[in-house]
Assembly symmetry: C2
């Protein structure tokens, strides 16, 4: 009845690489699955569910440590969901902060690009602005994480 997936099929099912799944197992995020006679990993439906949960949370930008916390919450259905909601709110706030930084960045980049009228490097507004922050509108930029 229960169809078991090899790691390749599992990866395909959730849209990630094979090594990513092994990595999640290695760091203890995903329990070690059963193995075939030839020592190959076999994932049951529960394992696939957990893997999808992890991947989906990653796609929504949650860091792995937070996903760990979310999983242990998800494993206790009768608990209050306050903690889960708080985690999601915090994630939303993080995303908002990143958005603000990126938007400010975008404005400066656009200005740089617009102001350069071409010509030689000596007069290039792009190079000039990179060398001189006082040409920026923003008081200061936070370095974006990636």
């Amino acid at each position: 009845m229960m169809n078991l997936l090899t790691i390749g099929r599992a990866a395909e099912a959730v849209g990630c690489k094979v090594q990513t799944i092994r990595y999640y197992e290695q760091i203890g995020l995903l329990p070690s699955p059963s193995r075939s006679g030839g020592n190959q990993r076999l994932y049951d439906e529960e394992a696939i569910r957990r893997l999808s949960f992890i991947r989906h949370a990653r796609e929504l930008g949650f860091p792995l440590q937070t996903i760990r916390d979310l999983i242990s919450l998800a494993d206790n259905p009768e608990y209050s969901c306050e903690a889960a909601d708080a985690i999601a709110k915090k994630q939303l706030e993080d995303v908002d902060r990143r958005l603000k930084r990126l938007q400010a960045l975008r404005r400066e980049l656009e200005r740089m690009v617009e102001q350069c009228k071409g010509g030689r490097i000596a007069n290039c507004r792009v190079i000039e602005t990179l060398g001189d922050h006082t040409l920026c509108e923003a008081k200061n930029h936070d370095i974006p994480k990636v």
Copy 2:
């Protein structure tokens, strides 16, 4: 006349950590500066200018490899600035892509948070949505780089 800065002062001047400057030297982004009798690094104005250029470009989100390219352009003032402008435009496009992804993400997170009316984990919309992408509005999310 030329005032030389120790690495600590240099770090302070450009707003980064001491180790970051040593790192830039190590990867060949910043030339090895002169040294004091006691083997401590001493940065002249030109070195500080280059360091500020690097830091400012980082603050605007340019990756180190791109900064390498920008520096070698900046070192040839009589060249056309086409290449520099193209780099800046590409960076702007990258930022735009990241912005779009983040905005889509933000919408999903907000929806998740809004839909949960509290209660137990068993009925938590946050946990439920994380486990089931069909509850999302977006067809698919790209994983945001941080």
